[in-house]
Structure formats: structure tokens, C-alpha cells
């Protein structure tokens, strides 16, 4: 509990000037989080509304991930001091970043599924705020909206899944989920939950938002869109694993493998330095999702852990490159790799970080990425269909290819666009800010994950998180090991021949050519934007139709009814005037006539009147008697 309070307090008491304060609070939080590692699983519950008791639950898995979030968050805070320095909205930035960290931590310690959903949405909301941080640029604001909307659609799945789970199966607490009788509704709930996870973890068909999310400041991309938020989906699936039915798992595995492949292909063609990393994140997340789908959730969490380090490292380094490019040359797009090249000379430290973290991403032996990825690859062979391991292995070939291409394009060869590097421009960040780089790069080396560089199940924390397990000797163990090494070597080798300094392809990039045909298709992430745009249009058409119906049909009916009323009213008016009044007038006329006639009778003298009276009296008596 303490770290959460520490985190929240920290953010509300910071201002634009005292920019070191947030980082200090994160540091304090980290220490608290490390203390969490030593306690036993703990459950705290409280009543929220009548009938619903929310709760938090901290077990070893939460504790480890909480520490991870704090750790990465701290490093990102430190780096942000360098990267965001001088931005007018800095206070706002710290606030949003802190808000995000708090929501993410809340997500990790929620016990009740609804509480998890609450934080899940808050994470999405803070991500929306951070992506749209530079809201004055319309494009970035649009990106934020797209990202939020895509998430929102997937969240609809999540909330349905949660409600079905709660109302039909009475399973509301993560700590108390247990396997139940497999019914159609359970599969339904599982798939709905998985859709939610796909949304946040940028899986097919929701992966389009992550690339858009790159519109936010780069440290944000490192924290949210690489290391923490996007892994929420994997965390969720691991948590609800007990209630996932085989069919749901099957879907999860296939989606994961498919996404890993699709995104890896898309990453091959990107020119934006952050876009490559974004697609690579999607691809790696695909691995993790697939891992859960085939039951190797331990490996997935392991990969989540290692990925958090090397991908955050890559993003921070990329951020530094962008920062440098902006300072060195204002006229060109500072994120386009075609404008870079030869930056090794100016940014040696960044280059080193990039190299180490990149190797881990590629899955080079002796790196952490190698270990965790191998675990998932091995497990993928247990999948019920061949397509899963096939896609996984192909992606394992593509990954080293695109990251090598990127490193070569950015750091080696000739400088493709003029840079004005003066002495005043400080290239590398100041010293304390180098620390995150160093820590993240170190974290990507095998020794900090597992003592044995070739044992995919040797994660130090593995036993701590999941309890002791009997060593599983996969029959394919050694084959997987060998083949993944071969694949990595092939990928790197081929990329090197293509993009080495002076190679034809590397030189061609100097001319910024518009992509065409298939390349454009892959460049735009398999045209996923078009698909979204299509839905967008569809929704707009429906909504215009609804508005039209309102105006033309419902309102016309109402107006028509009103008109009818008026006509009726007028008609009644006419009827009144001519018919009813006519009759009345007629009657009046008649009586007047009678009156006149009678008056004539009455007019003569008194005798006649008396005679008339007598006559009437006689008449009445006569009538009375007979």
C-alpha cells in the first residue's frame, strides 16, 4: 500500500520548477516496493457500494511487477529531466506521468476484477493525455483520440467478460479464481477478456494504436508504450489463466503468433526510428500473448521482465538520438532514419546502449532476451496447430533483421543530412541521466536474469513468483536452442550484407522516396489505419443516418401531428362558426321570427290580449283534463 500513497502524494505536490521532486518520490516508492517483495501475499478488502466489496491483493507476481514499474518509471523520470527540459508544459507532464504510474500500480495490485477495470481505464486515459501532450499539433491530438478509441472498443470486451464472470460464475476476485466447469458462457467470457487484453497489449486487430501512440514524448513511449502499460494485457491473461477455456487459449495463442509475425514484417519497412521500435514492441508482445496461449505463462512473464529492460533502453536511446537530431538540424524530420547515419561518432554512449539492448531484442546469446524468448519458442511447439510455432520462428528470424537494419542506418556509415554540431550542443546527456542507460543496458545482459546463459527456465525470480516447479525437459530443448541461434545469426548476417556502410540499400535511403505498392502497405502497418478509417466512416454514416431520421422522420411526424392538430382546430373553428353557430343563429332567427309574429298578435289592445289569455287558459285546462 505504501508505495501507492507515496506515489500519489508525490505528484500532487510538485510544480514545474522543482522538477526533481517527482523522481525523488518515485525513488522512495521503489524502496517501498522492494520491501513488498519480502512480504507474504496479502489481501485487503473494503466495501464500495452495497453488495460489492473491492479489494487489493499483493502476491509475489504483483510485487515483482510493481518493483519493475517503479524501477522503469524512476529511470524514465530521470531521463525526462534531460529530454523534456525547457518544455513549457513540464508541470503538466510530471502530473500526467505520475498519474499514469499510479494507475498502473493500482492495476497490478487490484484483486477485484472491477477495480482492475477501473485502473485499466485510468491507465488508458493517462496514456491518452500523454500521447496528446503536445495537443497544439492537430495530428498528435488525432493520434491520441485514435489510441483511446481503439482501446475503448477492446475495453468493451473486457467489461463484458468481467461482468459475465461475476454475474454468471460468481468469480470476482483474482486471488480466488479457480477452474470451473467449462461452458459456452465461460468460453465467451474468456474470449471477451482476451479481447480486452488484445486491446491494451496492441494485438491483432487492435495493434494500430500503438504506432499512433508514438506521437507522445519519447520517454513516455519508453515507459508506457514499451515497458509497462502494454504489458497489462499479458498480466491480465496470466491472472485469469485459470478460467480460460481451451478454445479461448487457442484463440489467444493464434492471435499472439499472428501479431508477432505481422508486426515483425511491418517493422522491416519503417523509416521512423520510433515506428520500428513500436512495431517491434507489438511483435514482442505477440510473443508474450502466444506464450500465455500455449500455457507457458511463466516464460511470458519472464519475457515481459526482460523486454521491459531492453525496450525501455532502446526507447530512451532513441529519444536521445531524436533530441540530438533536433538540436543539430532543425530543418529535417528528427525521427526519420533516412536523415541519420554515422551518429556513432557523436553519440558513442547512446550507441553502446543501443547495441546491447538491440542484441537482447534480437535474441543474441548471452543476452536476457535470448533466454526469455527461447522459453517461449520452446513452448510454442506444444501448440495444437503448426501455424503457431511456424509464425513464431519466422518472426524470430525477422526480429534480428530489422533491429540490425536500424542500428546500421542510424549509427554507422556516412551522415546523410548535414548536421550542425557545435561545441555548445551537448550531445550526450549530462551524467546522472546516463545512469538509466547504463542500468537498462546492464539489465539486458544474461547474468542479471539467469546464471546459466542457456537455461530458459533459470530466471532468478521464476521460483519466487510461481513457486518451485519441477524442471521440464522439453524434448526439443537443444533443437530450439540451436535453431534460435541459427535464426538470429541469419537475420543479423543478412541485414548486415544489405545495410552495411556503403551498401547500395543504405545509400539509397538518402533520397527520401515515397513508398509505393507493397512497401507502402507494410509501411502503414498492413493498412490497419484504413480498416479503422473504414469503421470510422461506417459509424459516421450510421450516426448521420440517425440524425437524419430524427430530423426528417420523427420530427416530421411530430410536426405533421401538430399540423393535423392545427387543421383539425381550424376545421373545428369553421364548423363552429358556420354550422354550430349557423344553427344557433338559425334558432335565434327562428325564435325572433316567432317572437315577432307573436308580438304582432300581442300588439293590439288589452281586450285582444285578455281574449288570447283566456284562449290559452282554456286550452291548458282542456289539456290538463283530458
Amino acid at each position: 500500500m505504501l508505495p501507492l500513497i507515496g506515489g500519489v502524494l508525490g505528484y500532487f505536490f510538485q510544480s514545474g520548477k522543482s522538477y526533481r521532486l517527482p523522481a525523488l518520490f518515485i525513488g522512495a516508492g521503489l524502496i517501498q516496493a522492494l520491501r513488498l517483495l519480502t512480504i507474504d501475499p496479502e489481501v485487503i478488502r473494503w466495501s464500495w457500494v452495497p453488495g460489492i466489496e473491492l479489494g487489493i491483493y499483493i502476491d509475489h507476481l504483483s510485487a515483482v511487477l510493481v518493483s519493475l514499474v517503479y524501477f522503469i518509471s524512476l529511470l524514465v523520470h530521470i531521463f525526462s529531466m534531460h529530454y523534456m527540459c525547457g518544455d513549457p508544459g513540464l508541470g503538466r507532464y510530471w502530473f500526467k506521468l505520475g498519474f499514469f504510474t499510479t494507475s498502473m500500480l493500482g492495476l497490478l495490485i487490484s484483486d477485484h476484477l472491477l477495480l482492475l477495470f477501473v485502473f485499466w481505464e485510468m491507465v488508458g486515459f493517462s496514456s491518452y493525455l500523454l500521447i496528446g501532450f503536445w495537443f497544439k499539433e492537430t495530428e498528435k491530438a488525432t493520434s491520441a483520440r485514435t489510441a483511446f478509441m481503439v482501446n475503448r472498443v477492446a475495453d468493451a470486451g473486457l467489461i463484458i467478460g468481467i461482468i459475465v464472470l461475476i454475474t454468471m460464475f460468481g468469480q470476482a476476485y483474482i486471488s480466488e479464481l479457480n477452474p470451473i466447469e467449462n461452458t459456452g458462457w465461460l468460453t465467451f467470457a474468456g474470449i471477451a477478456l482476451a479481447i480486452g487484453a488484445f486491446g491494451k497489449s496492441a494485438q491483432f486487430p487492435f495493434f494500430g494504436w500503438l504506432n499512433k501512440a508514438m506521437a507522445g514524448p519519447t520517454p513516455v513511449s519508453a515507459l508506457i508504450h514499451a515497458a509497462t502499460m502494454v504489458t497489462a494485457g499479458i498480466y491480465l491473461l496470466v491472472r485469469v489463466y485459470p478460467v480460460l477455456t481451451p478454445v479461448a487459449l487457442y484463440l489467444v495463442a493464434i492471435t499472439g503468433a499472428l501479431t508477432a509475425f505481422i508486426a515483425a514484417v511491418a517493422a522491416l519497412f519503417q523509416n521512423d526510428i520510433k515506428a520500428v521500435l513500436a512495431y517491434s514492441t507489438i511483435s514482442q508482445l505477440g510473443y508474450m500473448i502466444m506464450g500465455v496461449g500455449v500455457g507457458a505463462y511463466e516464460s511470458s512473464i519472464f519475457h515481459l521482465w526482460t523486454h521491459a529492460f531492453f525496450k525501455a533502453g532502446l526507447f530512451l536511446a532513441a529519444g536521445n538520438v531524436i533530441h540530438f537530431m533536433h538540436k543539430a538540424n532543425h530543418d529535417v524530420d528528427g525521427q526519420d532514419m533516412r536523415n541519420m547515419g554515422g551518429l556513432k561518432k557523436y553519440l558513442p554512449f547512446t550507441f553502446l546502449t543501443y547495441l546491447i539492448c538491440g542484441s537482447a531484442l534480437a535474441g543474441l546469446p548471452l543476452t536476457s532476451g535470448f533466454l526469455s524468448k527461447e522459453g517461449i519458442l520452446g513452448a510454442s511447439l506444444d501448440a495444437p496447430v503448426l501455424i503457431v510455432p511456424a509464425l513464431a520462428f519466422v518472426s524470430a528470424l525477422l526480429t534480428p533483421f530489422y533491429i540490425t537494419r536500424q542500428i546500421l542506418l542510424v549509427f554507422t556509415g556516412e551522415v546523410r543530412k548535414g548536421l550542425h554540431v557545435t561545441n555548445e550542443t551537448f550531445n550526450e546527456p549530462w551524467k546522472p541521466v546516463k545512469m538509466p542507460f547504463a542500468l537498462l543496458a546492464l539489465g539486458s545482459i544474461w547474468i542479471f536474469s539467469s546464471f546459466n546463459p542457456f537455461n530458459a527456465h533459470g530466471w532468478y525470480l521464476g521460483e519466487y513468483v510461481f513457486g518451485p516447479e519441477e524442471p521440464v525437459q522439453s524434448p526439443y530443448g537443444i533443437i530450439v536452442l540451436m535453431s534460435s541461434i541459427v535464426l538470429v545469426a541469419m537475420g543479423i548476417g543478412y541485414a548486415y550484407t544489405q545495410f552495411k556502410p556503403g551498401a547500395r540499400k543504405a545509400l539509397e535511403y538518402k533520397n527520401l522516396v515515397e513508398a509505393t505498392g507493397a512497401i507502402r502497405f507494410f509501411l502503414s502497418g498492413w493498412a490497419i489505419d484504413r480498416v479503422y478509417a473504414f469503421f470510422n466512416q461506417g459509424t459516421l454514416i450510421v450516426s448521420n443516418f440517425a440524425a437524419l431520421v430524427d430530423r426528417k422522420v420523427v420530427d416530421r411526424l411530430v410536426d405533421g401531428a401538430g399540423l393535423m392538430g392545427i387543421i383539425l382546430g381550424k376545421g373545428t373553428g369553421l364548423f363552429d362558426r358556420y354550422v354550430v353557430d349557423g344553427i344557433v343563429n338559425g334558432l335565434a332567427g327562428l325564435s325572433r321570427m316567432v317572437g315577432r309574429t307573436l308580438a304582432k298578435i300581442q300588439a293590439p289592445g288589452i281586450q285582444t290580449q285578455l281574449a288570447f289569455m283566456l284562449f290559452i287558459m282554456v286550452l291548458m285546462i282542456y289539456w290538463y283534463l283530458f
Binding site: 457500494v49 453488495g51 497544439k136 491530438a141 467489461i159 463484458i160 461475476i166 440517425a546 401538430g562
Partner: protein, 551 residues
């Protein structure tokens, strides 16, 4: 004082309206201050009501379900062989009406603050406003159907003039549309009211009267409590065992349908909702706030107290169509909102969409659904009220509400943008704000109903989730078009006028923002005290409904 709390809350504004009547019409400030004092007094008293309300009491029958009851003879007519007609002044609150009273009082205060700048025909405006206050609150506390109807009808008149005189350019059309629509609804309610009146007999009252007059008469009563206790006379044609039918449907069901249509117009439910956007667009800001924040809730309250409370069997029989209309409103309203270019119209349609949740929650007759529907009413009252204030801020400055005529307001008016973002996200159901709680509980009810009482199928609840997605779409889109990007305004002169929110606007927006957040995080503040009432409501309705259906 303790015993007359409700009467005080109801009639204080009317008394002050009389006072205002004697203030010379040039004394604008005095009139405003008097009105403000009246509404503030009303608010303080209703807060007292909120804190004095004892939610721990578990009622077991309707006659003891209401607190703060006041009862006095009002009109009595002896009609020879027909018996005696009795109309009482009978008020009281339970957990369903109590929060609505407090909500009304709060929004009425804010409405006064928001009309502070009014310069035209001030006296008339505030007299009408105060009259409106009395009739709205009266509606929520009335326990005599006749009294309810009097208040219900009385709301129409001030509303009609407030829109028709102080409204925008198309005010004549809007106000007449509003009037005719709601009058039609009232007529339907009136028909049922008379039917019920004839059917209900108060036998205990008859005995009491017999002691006094020495003559035994049948006593017909308008008492809602008697109606909910099913004290029907022998062979009454609206009694559950009545066999009178019309067109193959028993009269009881007809009565329910008429009531539902009558209140659906007020709520409003698609397809009888089109008065709402017009009325909203033309009404002055304060009146929009009252209209969206409170008046719509009278419709919802009518569902609860009258249609459902009196005809539970019909409610169970027609749960599915009612829920369908709810979901239709949610989705249709959402789509229609997406297509609007006028900010106020968009929010009006979003009201239609959000009120659909009330109907869905009610139809499920589950505890979650009912408390969700109630909570949604409260939360929507606060949020939509605030949203109209937000629109009012821009409209005051530019006299324009078209979304496309402005952009990049965020850099020009940061505080205003902050409030807009808060209320937009509160309205689209972001967790942490009250809108989420209402929608969530309703959805739990909607999806879970199938397993609990089988009234509403799960897929309907799931369909309603689409509404939540669309609401995000239109709010974010509007936000992006109006607030993000570079600052731009259609008329250059607007640039100087678009200042950030002033102190008066802070005063209106801040309390609402705080409450929306507070109720979002701790919904128990509202839901705990009313829990027993809701439980009783659901149990009572289900058991009575079941019993009647078997007959």
C-alpha cells in the same frame, strides 16, 4: 420544524416568489439575491434531509417505507352512491426520492448563479424560476397521485414561458413543441390516474369516517401508498384479478403502457425524444441545466414510483420491450449525438443516450440494475448540468455553439479546457467519475438479470456497451475539434472575448466537478443510505408481480 421539513423545502421558493412579486422590477440585484437566498435555503434544508435520513431502517411494507411523512386532509367530496373521494396533502420520501430532492435543490442554486447576468425581464424570470423550483421538488415528495399530478403539470407552465420568452431564436417552435409533447404525456398519465382513483378503496379510512359521520361509505383515495399496497375495491377494473380487457390486453397492462409512454416522453426515450434537443438548444443556459439535470429525472422517477410501483406484474411482463427501448435509446442517442455540430445539441442527444441506461437498469428489476438506474439519474443530473454550463461559457462569449467554428481553445482557455475534459470524461464513463458507477451497475444488472430473475436476456446488456464506445467517440471528437490544435476562431473579434472562466463560473463548475469525482470514487455516499429502500423496492415488486401473474 422537524415534521414539516419537506413542506418547507417545497414551499419556500413559492413564498419567496410572492416576496419577489412585491419588489419593484428595476431592483434587479435585490430580486436575484432574494432568489438565491430562497434556493440556498432550500438546499440547506435538503442537506439536512440528506443527513437526517435514516437509511438503516428496513421497511417491510409500503406504509412504513416513507420517512418525513406529512399528511393533511385537502379535498373531500361525497358523491352519493359512488362513495367519497378523498384527496390528501400527503408527502414523504424514501431512498428513491430523497437523493433526487437533494440533487434538485443543488442544481437549482447553480441555476440561479448561472442566470446572474440576466438583464431582460428579470422579475418575471425569477418568479417563474421559483415557481418551477417548488413544483419540481413537490413532484419528488408527493405521495398522493393527485398532488403529484398538480406539481407535474405545474412544471410545464413556467418551463414553457422560460423557454418561450428567454430562449434563443427558434424559441417559439421549441417551447410549443415541448409543451405539446409533455402535455400529451400528462394526458396519458391523467387517464390512468382517474382509473386508479376509481379502483382504489381505502377501507380503514372508510371505517374511521364511519365513526365520525355514522354512515358507511366507500372511500376512494389517490394515495400512492394505498396503490402500491394494492388496496383495490371489489370488482375494480384495474385490480390484478380484473378480467376487463381491451383489444386482448387487460386494462391493467394498458394502464402500464400509457404510464410508460407518458413518462417516456419526459425521460425522454427514443422515439418520443425530439422535443429535447430543440428545447435544450433554445433554452437559456440555466434552464437547460434544470431541464437536463432535474426535469428528465421526473420522468425516471415516475417510472419508479408510479408505473413500476403500482403495476409490478405488467412491469415483469413487459421487461423485455422496456429494456429494448432503453438500449435503443442508448445506441440511437449516441449515434445521433455523433452527428451533431452544435455542441448543445450533441449534449442533448447524449442525455437521451444516458437516460437509456435508467430504463435498462429499471427493466432488469435487479438490485444492481435499480441502484444503477438511480445512481445514473443522480450522476447524470450533475454531469449533464455541468456540461450545459460548460457550453454556456462559450456561448456567453461568442454567441455561437457550433463545434467547427472554434478550435485550439486549450491554449487560450486552459482552466476551461480542464473542466471540459473532466466533465466530458465523466460523461463518457471514465472510472473515477460518477458516470462510470451508474453505467457499470446498470450493465451488471443488464447482463446478470438473465441469471437472477430471467427478465432481460444478457445480450441486451452487452449491446448497451456499444453506447459506451460511441459516447467516447463523440466526446473525444468534439474535444479534439474544439480544444486541440492551433487556436482559431471564425470571427476575429471573438479572440478578445474568449477569456478563461471567471470567478462566477468557477463557483458553478467546481462544486459539480468535486461531487462528480467524489461520487465516482465513493459511490457508497449515495448508495449506502438508500440500499434498504432499493432492496425493499425490488423484493416487493418481484413478489407482488409474481403473485399477480399467477392469478
Amino acid at each position: 420544524m422537524e415534521n414539516h421539513l419537506l413542506s418547507l423545502i417545497v414551499f419556500i421558493p413559492l413564498l419567496f416568489a410572492l416576496g419577489v412579486f412585491f419588489i419593484p422590477k428595476t431592483q434587479h440585484l435585490l430580486i436575484k439575491v432574494v432568489t438565491l437566498v430562497a434556493t440556498l435555503l432550500q438546499l440547506v434544508l435538503s442537506l439536512k434531509l440528506f443527513f437526517d435520513y435514516d437509511g438503516s431502517f428496513k421497511p417491510s411494507e409500503w406504509s412504513e417505507a416513507f420517512l418525513f411523512v406529512e399528511k393533511a386532509d385537502w379535498i373531500q367530496l361525497s358523491l352519493g352512491n359512488y362513495g367519497r373521494f378523498v384527496i390528501d396533502y400527503f408527502v414523504g420520501v424514501d431512498g428513491i426520492s430523497m437523493p433526487l430532492v437533494v440533487l434538485s435543490a443543488l442544481l437549482l442554486v447553480i441555476g440561479v448563479i448561472s442566470s446572474w447576468r440576466l438583464t431582460e425581464k428579470v422579475k418575471g424570470y425569477f418568479i417563474l424560476y421559483l415557481t418551477l423550483s417548488t413544483s419540481i421538488v413537490g413532484c419528488f415528495v408527493a405521495l398522493d397521485l393527485f398532488l403529484f399530478y398538480v406539481f407535474f403539470e405545474f412544471m410545464l407552465l413556467p418551463m414553457f414561458f422560460l423557454i418561450g420568452i428567454w430562449g434563443g431564436p427558434r424559441r417559439a417552435y421549441a417551447s410549443i413543441k415541448f409543451f405539446i409533447y409533455t402535455l400529451l404525456g400528462s394526458l396519458l398519465i391523467l387517464i390512468v390516474m382517474i382509473g386508479l382513483f376509481i379502483s382504489i378503496e381505502d377501507s380503514s379510512r372508510a371505517l374511521k369516517m364511519a365513526d365520525e359521520t355514522g354512515k358507511i361509505e366507500i372511500v376512494h383515495s389517490f394515495s400512492l401508498v394505498k396503490m402500491m399496497e394494492d388496496s383495490y375495491g371489489a370488482e375494480a377494473f384495474l385490480a390484478p384479478d380484473s378480467e376487463v380487457a381491451f383489444g386482448g390486453i387487460s386494462l391493467r397492462y394498458w394502464a402500464f403502457i400509457l404510464l410508460m409512454i407518458g413518462f417516456a416522453i419526459k425521460l425522454p426515450v427514443v422515439p418520443v425524444h425530439t422535443w429535447l434537443p430543440d428545447a435544450h438548444v433554445e433554452a437559456p443556459t440555466a434552464i437547460s441545466v434544470i431541464l437536463a439535470g432535474i426535469l428528465l429525472k421526473v420522468g425516471g422517477y415516475g417510472f419508479f414510483r408510479i408505473a413500476y410501483g403500482i403495476f409490478p406484474d405488467a412491469a415483469m411482463e413487459y421487461a423485455f420491450p422496456v429494456a429494448c427501448f432503453g438500449v435503443l435509446s442508448i445506441i440511437y442517442g449516441g449515434f445521433a449525438a455523433l452527428a451533431q455540430n452544435d455542441l448543445k445539441r450533441m449534449i442533448a442527444y447524449s442525455s437521451v443516450s444516458h437516460m437509456g441506461f435508467v430504463m435498462l437498469g429499471l427493466a432488469t428489476l435487479t438490485i444492481e440494475g435499480i441502484s444503477g438506474a438511480l445512481f445514473q439519474m443522480i450522476s447524470h443530473g450533475l454531469i449533464s448540468g455541468a456540461l450545459f454550463l460548460v457550453v454556456g461559457v462559450v456561448y456567453d462569449r461568442t454567441h455561437d455553439r457550433q463545434i467547427q467554428n472554434l478550435s485550439g481553445l486549450a491554449s487560450k482557455m486552459p482552466v476551461y479546457t480542464f473542466f471540459t475534459v473532466v466533465f466530458f470524461f465523466a460523461s463518457l464513463g471514465l472510472p473515477g467519475f460518477s458516470g462510470f458507477v451508474g453505467e457499470l451497475l446498470t450493465l451488471i444488472g443488464g447482463i446478470g438479470s438473465e441469471g437472477i430473475n430471467g427478465l432481460v436476456p444478457s445480450w441486451l446488456g452487452m449491446l448497451a456497451v456499444i453506447g459506451i464506445i460511441i459516447s467516447a467517440a463523440y466526446y473525444l471528437w468534439a474535444l479534439q475539434r474544439m480544444f486541440f490544435g492551433k487556436f482559431w476562431a471564425r470571427e476575429e473579434s471573438w479572440e478578445d472575448k474568449l477569456n478563461d472562466v471567471d470567478r462566477r463560473e468557477w463557483l458553478m463548475l467546481l462544486p459539480l466537478a468535486v461531487l462528480v469525482l467524489l461520487f465516482g470514487i465513493l459511490p457508497g455516499i449515495i448508495l449506502d443510505p438508500i440500499d434498504n429502500s432499493v432492496n425493499f423496492f425490488v423484493d416487493n415488486l418481484l413478489s407482488r408481480g409474481q403473485q399477480f401473474l399467477i392469478k
